[in-house]
Each structure stands twice: as C-alpha cells, then as structure tokens.
C-alpha cells in the first residue's frame, strides 16, 4: 500500500527535462516580462503596494471580498451539480454547465410563450426530469462499466447535443431572466462601513440565501430520507448497493434530476445577475478548479472551494491583475487550485486516494 500524499517528493531540479523546461520558460518569461515591466520596483508592486491599498481603503476590500463571495457561491452551485453526479455514478459530468444554460433558457423561453412564471418553473422541472430519464436510458445505461474517460466523453456528446438543441429551440441571442416575475429582489443596498460606501446588490444577497437554503435542503435530503441513504450507499460502492437491492438505474435518474434542479436554480441566479446566454457555459468551466480544490466527492468541499476560488480570484484580479496587464481572472482560479493540489492531491475534502498494487 502506498499513499501518494506521503511519498517524499522527487528532487525535481535534478531532472534534465525539468531543467530544460524551466530554462525555456525562464527565457520566454524574461523576454516577455522584460519588455513590459519596469523591474526596479517589482518587489514593491507585488508585495507591498496591494496590502497598503487594502489597509488604506478597507471599504474597497470589503466590496471586492463580497463580490468574490457572491461569484464563489455561484461557482459552488455549479460544482455542487458536478459533485452530486460524480459521487453517485462516478461520471465526471461535463454537461453540468450546459444544463444550467438549458434550464434557464427553457424557463425564459416558456415565459416568453405566455406561460405564467411559476408554472414555467414547474414545467422546466419536468423538462429537467425528462432530460435525466433520457440521459440515463440513452447514454448511461448502454455505457455502464466502461472506463471513466469514455463516460466523460459521452457527457461531452451530451454537451454538444444540448448546445445545438438549445440554440435551435431558443435561438442564440441573450435573454433577460424573469427575475421580477419570480419575486427576486433587485436594486442595491448601500452600507456605510469603514468610512466608505459598500454597495451590495440585493439579488446577490438573495442568491447567497437561496444557495445556503438549497445546500441545507440537500444535506437533509441525503441524511434523513430513504432515497438519500440509497444515494449515499451507491456513492460508497456500486456493487454493495446493488447487492442490498438498490436500483442503480433509478438512483441515476434521481441524481441527474437533482443535478437538474441545482442547474435550474443556478441558472436563475446567474441569469438574474447578467443575462441568459450560452456564455454561461464558459463560466461553468470556472467550476472545475473549484471541484479539484474541494475534491470531486465532497459537497462541503464544493462550497468551501467555491468561496476560496471566488474570493481569491477577485482579490487577485483587483490588486495584482493590473501589474501584468489584467484579465488574469481567466486562469488565476486554476493556479490557486493547483497550488492547493500540490499539497493535497485529492483536494481539500476529497476521499484519501489509496493505491494498491
């Protein structure tokens, strides 16, 4: 038995390949940065100035942290959908992002057709259920027992299909989320703290509250209901669950439907903050570092990971981003996650990886 987390790290620099890679990277980085940065006060700009700014304008810091918190909650919601499915079926569900878009588009599309808002929500839930059944029947059942990467690819197939299907049905134009009709608050709440003005969007507060409620509800569902117990059993071991008479097919439908509900709520929240479009699919890629940070199998991990990534990337973008040209939000999350992974390869809350020969 060997646990990769406890093995001593090999001496990386002794390897000629590593040296070669480092030298190439150093040359490229030096050439690229040398042209851009005035190196005389780099140290000051990286290690001193941002913290000075934080102390001097605490209201800005609070505002940034709040924004990070909110986007972190939304990343966590997307990650939650991934985790649910990964736990129950071992499928790395790449389609979660497009499911969010698809659910939100269905809701808005139905409303535009004249369906009352809350009826539209119910019908959308029905659509997500139908989707879950279809995916289980058409994709998962024939592919049972295949290697993980094949199932992963199959969810890519689902993604492509849903992109085409969604665009064909609802068109590719961004749509307005029906936030008002669902009695979601709007406007901003201005707080006087720390000698400055911090403005909190009401929809963000609502998103945080609803997300917390949903996570609590999911936890209760897993802990106290019969189906929840069955889900946890399947997550522990497919074979053992089958042997005590739990129907895997049924569980998969339920899990995908649960992920569909999470997707719908995420879609409503995210849609209310900006608009409903296929760009959300790219945002869903942001949930991936959250996943590896928190661990694929841990619901608390998804939440904590989401918050760390959300706050980390907003702080990084705001205080350090301008130093290297801005826009670092697109990759900073991955590097934060990588940093954590190098110390805990299974994520913060993931199951310990034990390998046996």
């Amino acid at each position: 038995m060997s646990d990769i987390a406890t093995r001593p790290a090999p001496n990386l620099l002794a390897n000629p390949l590593v040296k070669f890679g480092l030298i190439v990277a150093a040359i490229v980085a030096a050439l690229a940065l040398g042209v851009r940065l005035d190196t005389s006060n780099t140290f000051y700009a990286i290690f001193v100035d941002p913290f000075q700014q934080m102390v001097q304008a605490p209201d800005l810091l609070v505002q940034t942290v709040w924004e990070g918190l909110v986007s972190g909650v939304l990343y966590a919601l997307i990650a939650l959908g991934f985790v649910l499915i990964f736990k129950a079926s071992g499928v790395f569900n790449f389609a979660q992002g497009i499911m969010v878009v698809f659910a939100a588009l269905t809701l808005v599309g139905l409303y535009e057709k004249g369906v009352p808002a809350f009826l539209a929500v119910i019908i959308t839930l029905g659509v997500m259920f139908a989707l879950a059944v279809t995916i289980e029947r058409v994709v998962l059942r024939p592919l049972v027992n295949q290697p993980d990467i094949i199932l992963f690819m199959a969810t890519f197939g689902i993604t492509y299909f849903l992109i085409g299907f969604g665009e064909a049905l609802f068109g590719g134009n961004p749509k307005q989320m029906i936030a008002e009709q669902l009695y979601l608050p709007k406007g901003a709440l201005d707080l006087q703290i720390l000698g400055g003005l911090v403005s909190l969007q009401k929809i963000d507060i609502a998103a945080a509250v609803i997300a917390s409620l949903m996570i609590a509800a999911l936890a209760a569902f897993f802990q106290y209901t019969r189906i929840g117990r069955a889900l946890r059993a399947v997550a522990d071991s497919h074979k053992a669950a089958l042997s005590v008479g739990i129907s895997l097919n049924q569980i998969w439908v339920i899990v995908w439907f649960t992920a569909g509900i999470v997707a719908l709520i995420t879609g409503i929240m995210w849609g209310a903050r900006s608009d409903v479009s296929f760009a959300l699919e790219i945002v869903a890629l942001k949930a991936l570092p959250v996943l590896i940070l928190g661990g694929f199998t841990s619901i608390p991990g998804a939440i904590v990971g989401g918050l760390i990534i959300g706050i980390g990337e907003k702080l990084g973008e705001f205080y350090w981003g301008p130093l290297i040209g801005g826009g670092i939000e697109s990759w900073l999350a991955y590097f934060i996650a990588l940093g954590f992974l190098l110390f805990r390869p299974q994520g913060l809350f993931g199951d310990k990886i034990i390998e046996r020969i």
Binding site: Y160, I324, G347
Partner: protein
C-alpha cells in the same frame, strides 16, 4: 485468402520487428501513400485539398500528439490547443528573428519550445492523477491563451494582435503566405506528417513507449519495476507537446495562413482533439488518423452534404443541426465501440484473415 500471414516466414530479427510485417500491409501502405502523393493533388480540387485534406493532416498530427499522452501514458490533457498555440507563436517569432532559415526547419524547431512548456505544465502530473490532472491541464490552456492575447511581444506588437504569416520559399516556390498554392502546402503537410508519424511509431514501439504503457496500466507497479515515473511522465508530456506544437505551427502557417491565434487555439479545439483521440481509439496511431478524419471532415461534410441530399438548411440552423449531430454521433460511437475506430479496423482485419471460412 486475400490477407493472411500464412506462408510469410520471418528469417531475421529485423523482419520480425518490422512495423509492417505482412506483405499485404506493406502493399496497403504503399497504395495509401501513392493516393496521398499522386491521386489527391492531381485529381482533387483546390477546395478539397485546402479545406479537407490539410485540416485532416494537421488534426492527425495533433491527435497523435495527444494520443501519446492520453492513449499511451494515460494522462488526460485538456490543454492541447494551448500547446499547439505555443508552437505557432514560436514559429512566428523564429521566422521573424531568422528570416533566412527554411520555414520547414523552423516549424520542426518550434515544436521544441512547445515541448519545454509542456514539461513545465506536466510537472503536476507527478502528484495529481486522473480527472484532477485533466482539470489541472486546463490551467495551461487558460494561462497560455491569456498570454497569447496579453503579451504583445509574441505577435510582434501588431495592431491586429494576429499572426501575420510572411511569405517563405523553398527553391523559389512559395511555401507559406498568400502566394502558396494549396498543393504546395498540402505536400509540405503530408511530408511532415508522414515523417513524424514514422518517428512516433518508432518511439511508441521502443523502450520509451513500453515504459509509457506500463505507467498507463498502473504507475505504482511501473515504478516498482524500475521505471522512473518522473522521466516517463515528463518525457510523455515533452514528446506529446512537441507533436502538438508542430501541428499548431502547421495549422497557422500552412492552413489558416495567419489569424487571431487566441481564438483559434481555444478550449474548444482542445476538446475536439480529445474527441478525435477517443473516437479514433486510445493508444493507436492509426486510430488518430481515423479520429481526425471523422471529426475534421464531418462538419464540412454535413455543411455541404445535407443540402446536396435535398435537406434544405442554411446558416444558423445548419450549425445547430451540426452540433446536435456531432453530439449524437459521439454518443453513438462510444456506445457501439468504446475502443474507437481503431478497434473496428482490427476486427475488420481479423475477419479478412479468416475469410471466406471463418471459424
């Protein structure tokens, strides 16, 4: 009857270790090369060569690169497009700095830069495995894509931010740039792909390839057998990125002829190449070609084939249908043959061996 090894005796080690031990295989590969070298350039239209064959060759090379990493070594990577981008940009920088050097040499050299960057982003693979690693390679994808846009040194401070492919010649025949004919570019692509495939075939059948496969099957067991994981995994990243880098340089210089590379080398391209590898068959060089053919030709075929069949769709609708069909086909293929087109090819060959009296 037509295809069997009966009666073909191997009397030396060299013939036993040959890549194509069967006479029929050698004839087959000669026919394919003859078609590629003679029939396609002379019979194919410019459109066919430029928008079917060249993309096919470029994607094949990229798919071989990813197959070395994912299929042979078992490390899933979602950063292929970024490594291709590194190849394209290094080729651009190299040809700007050394305009006198032949462009083919530079395309081959630019792969080395990609290999270096690949090794760097391959370092986490020593501690992280499986899907964790797949997500970690996305760091390479997004970071490098960001760098392609934000570091103006890479695109020579062009106002457009795009790679502008200069004209480069060999024996006064333009190879790149606007003046190069599709046939010339096709021949260059074909030559590079054939040589590099031969190279890859030798690597994966040799000591290195065997150690990769041992790592893929179980890395701890491989380590116990004396394979250095650090070297094997980083070498896989290096070789894989080299192939991807050359493919990327070919893509910009011989196919696109310039362009906003940050858009070209997006995450969607990474996914597409992963599809090619999986649909073609993990751990199979010929599968890479099958996968590339299937996925690079499919959208073009659907775009022009459906109207020809009398199904009238255009513009946006066609794109949606293409997306849906590609998605559905991927799922269908995975269900029908999870081991990819290469497995179908093997089954077909086995059937031929026993034909007409199967037992």
């Amino acid at each position: 009857m037509l295809y069997r090894e009966a009666g073909q005796y191997k009397s030396s080690y060299a013939s036993d270790m040959a890549v194509f031990p069967l006479k029929e295989d050698r004839i087959g590969i000669a026919v394919i090369l003859a078609i590629a070298l003679v029939a396609i350039p002379f019979l194919g239209s410019d459109f066919f060569i430029a928008s079917v064959m060249i993309p096919f060759l470029v994607f094949s090379l990229a798919a071989i690169g990813l197959n070395i990493l994912t299929g042979y070594t078992g490390l899933i990577s979602l950063g292929t497009a970024a490594f291709m981008g590194v190849g394209a940009y290094s080729c651009y920088k190299l040809t700007t700095l050394f305009p006198g050097v032949n462009i083919i040499v530079l395309i081959l050299l630019s792969g080395l830069f990609s290999a270096g960057i690949g090794v760097l982003f391959g370092l986490p693979s020593l501690r992280i495995k499986g899907f964790y690693l797949a997500v970690a390679t996305l760091a390479a994808q997004f970071f490098l894509q960001w760098a392609f846009v934000r570091v103006p040194w890479l695109f020579n401070y062009n106002a457009s931010g795009a790679i502008e492919v200069p004209q480069r010649t060999l024996f006064d025949i333009p190879l790149t740039g606007a003046a190069a004919t599709p046939e010339t570019r096709y021949f260059v692509c074909l030559g590079l792909v054939v040589v590099l495939t031969w190279f890859a075939s030798n690597i994966v059948h040799g000591k290195l390839g065997r150690s990769w496969m041992a790592v893929r099957d179980m890395d701890i067991a491989a380590e116990l057998m004396g394979i250095k994981l650090l070297n094997a995994k980083l070498m896989a990243f290096a070789v894989s990125s080299y192939f991807c880098g050359v493919a990327g340089a070919m893509m910009i210089f011989l196919w696109y002829g310039g362009g906003e590379a940050a858009d070209v080398f997006s995450i969607r391209l990474s996914f597409n190449i992963l599809f090619m590898v999986i649909i073609g068959g993990l751990g199979s060089l010929i599968g890479s070609f099958f996968g590339a053919a299937f996925l690079s030709i499919l959208p073009t075929a659907l775009k022009f084939g459906l109207p020809a069949l009398g199904i009238p769709i255009q513009g946006a609708a066609a794109e949606h249908v293409t997306f849906m069909l590609v998605g559905a086909l991927i799922i269908t293929f995975l269900i029908v043959e999870p081991h990819g087109l290469a497995r179908l090819w093997q089954i077909g060959k086995q059937k031929l061996r026993t034909w007409p009296f199967p037992y």
